[in-house]
Structure formats: structure tokens, C-alpha cells
Symmetry: C2
Subunit: 388 residues, 2 copies
């Protein structure tokens, strides 16, 4: 196990994130940001708990035009929030279906509403409203004069570019994932129920130092898999299977997200060819991932190699994405995404193709973009389909 | 490892769930249900994947007044959805920020809007809007005449009462959790960094047969912990620590949710007393959990014992909740919840109290309510605080 970085972040990191947000808020005429989701609340506060798994209680963080954010949270989280840099923590005894934070929020936002001000919330692509819609409607209905703006692009522009400390965490979990995949040939074998391989993989990732393995999907079928998002079945691995495992493991709240492909006993020619094409598509993606290029450029660099074997483009919708506090983050390597790649973005390269009779293959690596090009965070996949 | 039940459900189970929903929809004048979240989509379709971890793509399931549900989903999920009982699967290549399913939904809902019909969505307590709010506003704005009703109570009434097959899965994962906790004294020890105990617990749960351990929180401090939702620190366990571990482990998409308390080396008198009070509060909850009682009754049965030591009621907000496809589900054992307990509800009993200088203790067991009272799904906690 390699030495782990320090957990958490110094207060200066949260102060810098908040100040950057406040600069953009001033430019865009926002009188506050109201954040509701686990990653957004954690990004500005450092509040880190798996308790978000419970859908029962809403949590709110308000970023004012100046000064520290204000937390409006269930009392059960007060002790943990007091350990962050947040000073102004307002709580209620939740759950309280009649008033789950609404009157506290109304009190906070009323002065802004009174002067016809504007609050930004996340309502754009890749977001969700992490509170009851009925409560949201009641909140807004009780604040006549309040304007709501979409703050998705603002928050996205901050979160897409990682700090040195974030990159250190991401590099650490990518290393753990790489060492876990390196062990797969030791614990995967013909006759093994696929679900047992999943359990063995999770156990190995924990042994290698992962905090958790919240995401593990895969496929295993004769001559190639047809699906890339399934949980495992009890079907035993057979000679001639192509096996794919794709993990989102975490360390200190940061994800790796990559996969590896293996053949059991023997590899068929078509799968070997698909593997080679995707390996070279990934190389093209690595070469294209430089500051100033767009996500569309990255997409096209990979797609031009994929087209050797599959001109249709597949049905995955994109060939990679941002990576950080979530398994998938903005941007998308897709024809629709003109986002300009910047130094210190952490990205996945995830070329895929359809082949044979309804088969699909996916490769994936994780990179950080530096001034002079991409650095791999993952140990590069073998250039030829490994046979177990 | 005990023999696992069969994975998945027969088609008849989904048909029965759908028909029950449709009966209630007819009574309430609903022309359809539009479902957006992982558990709601899975409940009516059987669509089961960890891919929901990625926030990028919305997923939609529409329950019509008669017949099978209709899936409107990203193409990447089509192969997996085709393995369920759903026949009508409409897909688009997602992500597509300009039209992430909105035109497909508009096409589906236009006839209902045209006749001034009503569609139910989940907008009440313990729900979230699992799609971009901007897209939702655009969808509704494009369907003049469409009425939106809150379907939370409808879906809640179905999901709160479990089928025999669901109870079998819940019993299986509660058994796995119980056997894992039984091993804690074997792998927990003084000097062990708390985060290493978390890793050891996860590994043991997997060994015992859990598919995953998506939720594991705890506390470990001298003479009692002060927080019950934290991730672990690297602090080594010390003699005199009171340690609590609370897990939501899963099998085939169903959760256990319970905790256990331990003392390291020695237990202080106050913590032993808190443990005894909570153990007896749980007994009172078990005795009170009968069909016809309300969640308020359950709350009061436990609270009357807790009051021996803590009259304030603590800050957790409730003393247990429903359990199933989510770590926490409706109802809540709280003064505000008059839900009548029914046969085949699966519930947690989770009494807690504050004591000493800012300490808190929590106990938790999982039960299924039968005609003649509660059956434990978890192996009952020891009546006295175990010392490791």
C-alpha cells in the first residue's frame, strides 16, 4: 500500500473556492448560491458523510456574496459540520415534514427577495433537485420578488479544474484501482461465479487502501459482453468469455473511474481486434488532451480511430468525462461539448465500440491535464487483451 | 454463508405492484405516474444497476392507467432494461443537454395534457427531483393543460408493505450483517486506526455474502461518541473508547440498516447505563410494533424508556424508520408520524439518547411486522455493552 495523502483540506482551500465563486457571483449579479447536493455542499464546506445515502433529510449550504458559507442543516449533522471551517450553522430537528428547513431558508433569503435580488441554484445539465419539489415550490412561493438563476455553469467552471490537493487524492485512488486490477489474474478463474469475482475485487480494493467501492459494474459473455452497466449474475466464468470490470472506488471522497478487459482461457480474434482499436483510440485521446483543445476535439481524436471498426459511434453517448468528487462530472467528450480543456482538469478517456453480434467493448483511463499534455493517473492497460 | 435466496423477482411481482398502483391511480384520478428515482424505477420495472451513481443521465418510467410501464431511458441502459418485464422501451443517445429525453416525454404526455389530464410525480417528503430542474420546467412548460399531482402517498403506501420475496431478501442481508457484527471482536483491537476497522468490517461483510456495503458510519471516542454520521479518522482505538458501527449493507438491492456498540478494553459506568436504557427501549419498541399501532405509538413506547436517562429526546429527529430498497424509507417513528403499522412492514427500531458531556448513543435493530407482532430480522444485540 503506498503512503496515503493527508485527509481533508486546509481551510485555505475552502476559502479559495468560496472566493472564486464570489468573484463569479459578482460578475453575474448573484446575491447568493443555494446548494443542495452532497458534492456541492462538500466542495464549499468540507462536510463529508455517507449519511446522504438516506433520502429523508434535505441539507442546504448558502454561499453569500462575501464571507463564509452558511449551513442550514438537520441537527443530526451539527456536530460534524462544526468540525469544518463553517461558522454559521443553523439547524432544525429533522425530519419534520411540515417544515424541513423551509422557515430557516425563508428567513435567510427574505432580505434578498425583499430587494428583488437573485439567488443561483443548480438546475442545468447533470444536476438534480435534492429536496422535495413540493418544498422547493413552497419556498419560492413564499419569497415573492426573489429571482432564481441557473448557477450550473458557475459551479461547473470551478469544480472542473482541480487543486493540487484534489489531484493528489485522485492520483492516490487511481493507484489503488490500478494495483487492484493488477491482482485480478490472481483471483479470477474459469468456473468462478461472476458475482464472486465482484466480491473478490471489492475485497482486494479495500486491501489496497480504498475507503469504499461504491461503483462496480461489468460484463462477462462468450466472445464479448453486450452490456456495460449490469450488476453481476451467478453465472460461472467460462473459457472464451470476455470479462470487463469497471470500478468507481473512492479515497477521502474522490473517485477513480476506469475499467479493464480480460479474456478467460482464450481470446477470440474479433475481441482482440476491438481491444487493439480501443487501446489505440485511448492513445489518440491521451495525445489530444492538452490545454486549449476542446472536449469535441478529444471526442473526434478517439472517434477517428474507433471508426476503423465501428462507424456508428456506439450508444454510450460520449467517450469520457470529468472525474472528481463524483463518478462522472462535467465535461463530456462528445460532439456536443465545446468545453475548452484547461490545465489541472482530471478526465476519463473512455472509448467504446460495437462489434460482432450486439457486442460492445469499453476501455477507460484517467488522466490529469498538465501544461504540456496529459499525465496518466492510472497504470496504462496492457496493449493486448490479457488472457487469464 | 447461509444459502442465498433467488435474485430478482418473478414477473408476477412487478405485475402485482403495477396493478395495485393502477387501482390507486384510478381512485385518485391519475392518468399516469412519472417516476424518476432509482428505487421507484426499480420497484415497478426490476431495472437494477449501480449506474445511477453517475448523475449525468436522467431515467424515466411511466406507469399508465392500465398495462405495463413504459421506459424512457438512455440508450446505454436499453440492453439491461430489455431483460426486465418492460416491453415498451424508448431510448435516446444520452447525454444530450439540449434534449435529454424531453421530446420523448413530451410525445408520451401530450395526449394526457391535451385532455387536461393529471400525472402523478413524487414531490413529497423524503423525495427529490432526479432530473435537472430546468429540464423539468421546460417539460411542464411545453405541456399546457397538464396537471401535476403529488403521488408520494400513493407510492409510499405500496412500498412500505413488503412482499414475501422482498422480506426474504431483507432477512438475508440482515443475517449477513448480524454475522459480520459477530466477528467484530475478532478483528477490532486497541491501537487499530478507526479507518482500518472500517475496512476490515467491509471486507468481512463481503465475505459473509453482502453484495456491497454502501453505508458504514460510526463513532469512537473516550467514554462515548458525540457524532453518529461521520466517516472514520485514522485515530487508533484506545482503551476506554466506546465504538459504534452502523451499516447499510446490501444484497440484491435490499438494505439492512443497524448498528452495534462496543467498548474497547473497559466500559465506563455512564455508557453502560446508556446502553442498558437503549436496550430496554428497543425491547419496548419490539413489543409495541404490532399491526394497528401507529409509528407515534412506537416512538412513545421507546421514548418513555429513554426518558429515564434523557428527557430532551435527542437530536436525531426520529427513533427508526422503514427499510427496504433504500437505507431509510417511510414511515418515521416520530411524534409527527401517525402512519398505522401494517403486517409485512419492515422497520428499524433506532432509539438514541444524549448523555454525559455531549455524548450520544444509538441502538438499532431491524424487524418485520407480522400479524401477531414483530419478528427480529437482526440477531438481537447483547443485553450488556460488549467489551473487546
Amino acid at each position: 500500500m503506498s503512503k496515503a495523502p493527508v485527509r481533508g483540506f486546509p481551510e485555505a482551500e475552502f476559502a479559495a473556492r468560496t472566493q472564486k465563486a464570489q468573484t463569479l457571483m459578482a460578475q453575474q449579479g448573484l446575491d447568493g448560491l443555494l446548494l443542495l447536493t452532497e458534492p456541492d455542499v462538500r466542495y464549499f464546506s468540507g462536510f463529508h458523510t455517507l449519511f446522504w445515502q438516506s433520502p429523508t433529510r434535505p441539507w442546504f449550504l448558502f454561499v453569500p456574496p462575501a464571507g463564509k458559507p452558511v449551513a442550514i442543516i438537520p441537527e443530526i449533522g451539527a456536530d460534524l459540520m462544526r468540525r469544518t471551517w463553517i461558522g454559521d450553522i443553523r439547524t432544525w430537528s429533522a425530519p419534520a415534514p411540515e417544515d424541513d428547513g423551509i422557515s430557516l431558508l425563508t428567513e435567510l433569503l427574505s432580505p434578498i427577495a425583499g430587494r428583488g435580488g437573485t439567488v443561483g441554484i443548480m438546475k442545468g445539465h447533470e444536476t438534480a433537485l435534492r429536496m422535495p419539489l413540493g418544498d422547493f415550490e413552497r419556498l419560492i412561493g413564499g419569497l415573492p420578488g426573489l429571482n432564481i438563476a441557473d448557477a450550473t455553469l458557475l459551479v461547473r467552471s470551478l469544480r472542473m479544474v482541480k487543486s493540487a490537493a484534489e489531484i493528489e487524492k485522485l492520483s492516490h485512488i487511481c493507484g489503488i484501482g490500478s494495483r487492484t486490477f493488477a491482482q485480478v489474474p490472481q483471483f479470477a478463474h474459469e468456473g468462478q461465479p461472476f458475482e464472486d469475482l465482484f466480491r473478490a475485487f471489492r475485497r482486494e480494493a479495500l486491501t489496497q487502501g480504498a475507503d469504499d467501492v461504491p461503483y462496480l459494474v461489468g460484463g462477462a459473455e462468450q466472445g464479448g459482453y453486450s452490456d456495460v452497466i449490469s450488476p453481476p449474475t451467478g453465472r460461472p466464468l467460462q473459457a472464451g468469455d470476455i470479462v470487463m470490470l469497471d470500478t468507481g472506488s473512492t479515497w477521502d471522497g474522490y473517485f477513480c473511474d476506469f475499467d479493464r478487459n480480460f479474456a478467460i482461457g482464450r481470446a477470440d480474434d474479433l475481441s482482440r481486434r476491438a481491444y487493439d482499436v480501443l487501446w489505440r483510440a485511448t492513445e489518440a485521446g491521451i495525445a489530444a488532451a492538452r490545454p486549449g483543445a476542446t472536449c469535441r476535439d478529444l471526442f473526434q481524436a478517439m472517434q477517428s480511430v474507433i471508426a476503423e471498426m465501428d462507424g456508428q459511434g456506439g450508444d454510450v453517448g460520449r467517450l469520457g468525462h470529468g472525474l472528481g468528487m463524483q463518478l462522472t462530472e462535467w465535461p463530456s467528450h462528445a460532439a456536443f461539448d465545446g468545453t475548452v480543456i484547461e490545465e489541472n482538469m482530471v478526465l476519463t478517456l473512455e472509448p467504446s465500440l460495437g462489434y460482432g453480434d450486439g457486442k460492445i467493448m469499453v476501455h477507460e483511463e484517467n488522466i490529469v491535464v498538465r501544461a504540456d499534455g496529459a499525465d496518466l493517473l492510472t497504470t496504462r492497460a496492457a496493449p493486448e487483451l490479457p488472457v487469464i
